[in-house]
Structure formats: structure tokens, C-alpha cells
Amino acid sequence: MNLNLSVKYQLHDSKKPLVVFYSVLFLSTLIIILLTGFSKNSVVSVKGSLQGLEMASAVFLFVAGLTSFREIFRLFVQNGVSRKALFLGRLITVACISMGMSLIDNMAARFFRAILPAGGRLEYMSLFEMLYGSRYASRSSGFLRLFEGILLMFTIYVGLSMIGYFITTLYYRMQKGTKIAVSIGVPAFLFILLPMVDSYVFGGALGRAIEKFLLFAFGFLNGANPYYAMVTMLLIFAVFSGLSWLLVRKAVVKD
């Protein structure tokens, strides 16, 4: 199987967008830190915080997932690479990039926190700390915090990447009419019909149930446990990988 080549190309294809993304993200963060972070006394004495830059990475990976099928599929079909090699290569590429970005983001969080002076106007807080920081309030657990932070962001990244990949493969397989129907129907159902039905028929019970389920799925029902979120995101990754494969395995070249 052309698996190595599939991974090699897909990693290569992601290299440039990744470099641009991190260049912009880190430069803008550093500029903010340099402009405001080192000043204790200022005319405008507003305290602020840089929070959850990992969200940008998550959005980047979701969008990258959305744009990573058509061109690569056509190129691979042109060059005798099977759909199986393409798809397995995608899974490995997503895992590698997600792990790399999780490491970078966690290290960057530590770096930004380290360079910001204590008591300064600006403080840095990672997404993981925002969500699950309370878990470490009573104990000093630097390694565990880093480990869990890396693991959580990795699972979030792979999950979101595969959701993006699934959407793009789904749209690739659909006919024009179906695309329009889904593009209008799904948001209309989720954001208009469902809230209306919930409000008028269930008296908000559905919304509360969904909220409770999400709190459970992401480990907030009893305290803050990131392992619930990790399992949830891995399940999302597995389900959307399975669905994507069903779409990829019979995908054909469209001219």
C-alpha cells in the first residue's frame, strides 16, 4: 500500500498553512504581550488575559479538515493511490498534526505564561486551564497538568479534524440539489426547528437534557474531569472516521 507516500504528501500539504497559521498566531500574541504585558502601571490600568489560543488551533484544524479531501483525492487517483491508502494516510496525518499542535500549544502556553511578569496587566490562560483548571487547585501537579492538557487538546483536535473531513467528503459525494437541501435543512433544523419544538412542545426539557448530556460528555457533571472529554472526543473521532470511510471508499473522480 502507498501508505507512507500518502502520509508524506498529506503532511507536506499541511506544512505551509501550519507555518502561516502559527506565524500569525504567535506574532500577534507576542505583539500583544510586548505592548501590554510588561507594564504594571499604565494610564489605562485595565487588567486583561489572553485566553484559549488553542481555540484558534481547533478552528484551524476543523477548517483544514474541510479543505483536505477534493484536491488530494484527485491527485492520488491520478497517481495510482487507492482510496484506502488515502484514507488511512489521512487518519495518520490528522493524528500526527493534532499531536504536534497539541504539544506546540501546550508548550506555547507555558512559554507565554513564563514570560509574562507576575502581577502584570496581562495574564495567559490556556483553554485546558480555563475548563479544567479547578481540578488542580489543591495539588501541585505540573507533569499531570501538562500530560492531561496535551492529551485533551490532542483528542479535541483529532475529533474536530474528522468532523471537518466528514463534512467535506459528504458534500463531495452529494448531488447539487442534496447539497442545497442539507446546507439549508441542517442549520434550519438545529437552530430554528429544534429550539421551537423544544420550547413549545417540551417546555425546554430537550434543551436541558442536551445541556446535561454535554456536561456529562465533557466531564463537568461532577467537578471537572477532562478524561470524559477525551473519551467523548475520541468517540467523535471514531464515529466520524467510520462515516468518512463509508463516503471515501466509493468516491469517484468528478470533472
Partner: protein
């Protein structure tokens, strides 16, 4: 079984049956001409063979191994198609570099030499190439991949006469240096007539002829003369088509001419491939 075999392949697009139970075999190291009218099923057949689309039934094998989704086998097949499958932002030189990765036998030096010969700027992005140079770019890849089976779908699209001539010469050079099976699907039948060894004619999704060019042409002849003389001559013959130009009539006849009984005023000639193709694909009964 040696060679690339298409067995009982059927492909439908909605209500349209693009391929009807097609069976055809491509033997190693031969140049084939795949001929058919627009919409006859040529590209569909090539797309099925190369795994770009899936057949509804039937199978495609190379030396006994199934082709679709088989990386090991697919490495032996390359198809140049009308529309580019390369990313828009990719440069010609990058496409050559990646082709070498996908096809280890790709001859990069030859590709650069051909780019110079065809005056193709390898620093250009693929999307910025004109139709002709886009064809040249794809042809260069096809001629340098060094795989046993190369399928060329409308290879000379947008090429001027000089470049077409250069392509045919380069193809024959490549074939002489490194024999492979080339399948050329084109509408410019006269131009490939002298190149192809075997001819496959497809009509309405069915293979109606597959034999060597010489054998195919030997089964037909043309008789030309005054309308009355031709009409008299063809009464007991199997006519596949006729043309009339002024007072002259030409009849295309299946079979071998009996030169001993040709009436005065009639001229017997061998049919050329294009003329034969037109008659075979015009006449439903052929």
C-alpha cells in the same frame, strides 16, 4: 492471465448505460487506438480501468490481479486525461517531483529534456498553463512515468500541428526505448492511424471491433465510379455506407474485392481508418 483484462464491465449513469458488458484485453507492449464518437464510452472505459470510477458489474485485472483499490497494481498504470487532476497551486516542477515519488520509475531527466523540447516552462503553476501546454505537461508525465500501461485520453487536445507531430515522434521514441502498452483515445484518427497496431472501436458503450489495424482494414474496401455502375456492382455486396459527390458515388463494402470481376469505370481502393470508422459508427448494422 497476462495483460490488462476488462471482463463483462457494465457502467450506468442514471438511465444512461455508458458501458454494456464490455470485455477487452490489452496485451503488453502494444500501441492501441481506442476510437469512438462523442459519448461512446471511451473515457468511461478508461476511468473504470484506472479505478477513477467503479463499474456496476464486471472486473478489471492486470496479470490476474484485480486493479481497483490495489496500490501494487495501480502503480503499473498511468492515465493522462483531458482535465488536470493536479492541485491548482502546484507548479509543473513540483508535479514532476511528486510524480517521481508516486512512480519510482519516473525519468526526471527525460521529463526536463522534453519540457525544453516542447518549450514548457516548468516554473509555471499548472493552472496558468494554456490548454495546449496543459496537454503538453500531462503528456510529458505520461511519457516519462515508465509504467507498463499508459492510457492517453485526448492527448493532443489544444496542441498545434507542430507539437502534435513532435508528440507522435516522442511517443514512438519512448516506445522504442522502453516498450509499454499505450492506449490512445482520440478523435484525430488519421493522425494516429500510422502509429497504432491494434484498433478498438466503441459505439454506444459496446466494443464493436477489436483487431489489428491491418486486419481491420483488410476486411473492407471502397468502390468508386458513376452512380449507376456502383449501384450495379453492390447489389450482392454487404455495403456499410455510401458517399455521393456530384456524379461520383463511393460505396464501402465489407469483404475482400474480387479484382477479376470489377467492371470498367469502377475503382477499387482500400479504406483508410478514419473513413472506415465513420462508416462503422454511422451504420447501426455494422
Amino acid at each position: 492471465m497476462n495483460g490488462l483484462c476488462v471482463t463483462n464491465v457494465t457502467k450506468n449513469f442514471g438511465d444512461v448505460r455508458a458501458l454494456k458488458n464490455v470485455s477487452v484485453e490489452f496485451q503488453p507492449n502494444k500501441i492501441y487506438g481506442l476510437l469512438g464518437r462523442n459519448g461512446a464510452g471511451k473515457t468511461t472505459l478508461l476511468n473504470v480501468i484506472t479505478g477513477r470510477i467503479f463499474a456496476d458489474s464486471g472486473k478489471v485485472t492486470l496479470n490476474g490481479e484485480e486493479v481497483p483499490e490495489n496500490d501494487k497494481v495501480l502503480r503499473n498504470i498511468f492515465m493522462m486525461c483531458e482535465k488536470s487532476k493536479y492541485p491548482d497551486t502546484m507548479k509543473v516542477s513540483d508535479a514532476m517531483r511528486w510524480t517521481r515519488e508516486f512512480y519510482p520509475g519516473f525519468d526526471g531527466e527525460k521529463a526536463m529534456a522534453l519540457a525544453e523540447r516542447f518549450q514548457l516552462n516548468v516554473k509555471k503553476k499548472i493552472k496558468s498553463l494554456s490548454t495546449g501546454y496543459s496537454s503538453i505537461f500531462k503528456l510529458i508525465l505520461a511519457l516519462c512515468v515508465n509504467v507498463p500501461y499508459v492510457f492517453l485520453d485526448e492527448p493532443v487536445l489544444g496542441l498545434d500541428a507542430n507539437h502534435r507531430d513532435l508528440f507522435y515522434k516522442t511517443l514512438l521514441e519512448s516506445y522504442a526505448d522502453n516498450p509499454a502498452t499505450y492506449v490512445i483515445s482520440t478523435h484525430l484518427i488519421e493522425e494516429i492511424s500510422g502509429i497504432v497496431e491494434d484498433v478498438i472501436i466503441i459505439r454506444d458503450g459496446e466494443i464493436i471491433r477489436k483487431e489489428t489495424r491491418e486486419s481491420l482494414l483488410s476486411h473492407y474496401y471502397c468502390v468508386t465510379g458513376s452512380a449507376s455502375a456502383v449501384e450495379g456492382f453492390i447489389t450482392d455486396k454487404k455495403v456499410i455506407g455510401m458517399d455521393t459527390l456530384g456524379g461520383l458515388k463511393s460505396a464501402y463494402i465489407e469483404g475482400a474485392p474480387d479484382r477479376g470481376v470489377i467492371p470498367d469505370g469502377l475503382e477499387i481502393t482500400q479504406m483508410d481508418l478514419q473513413r472506415l470508422f465513420i462508416q462503422l459508427t454511422n451504420s447501426k448494422g455494422a
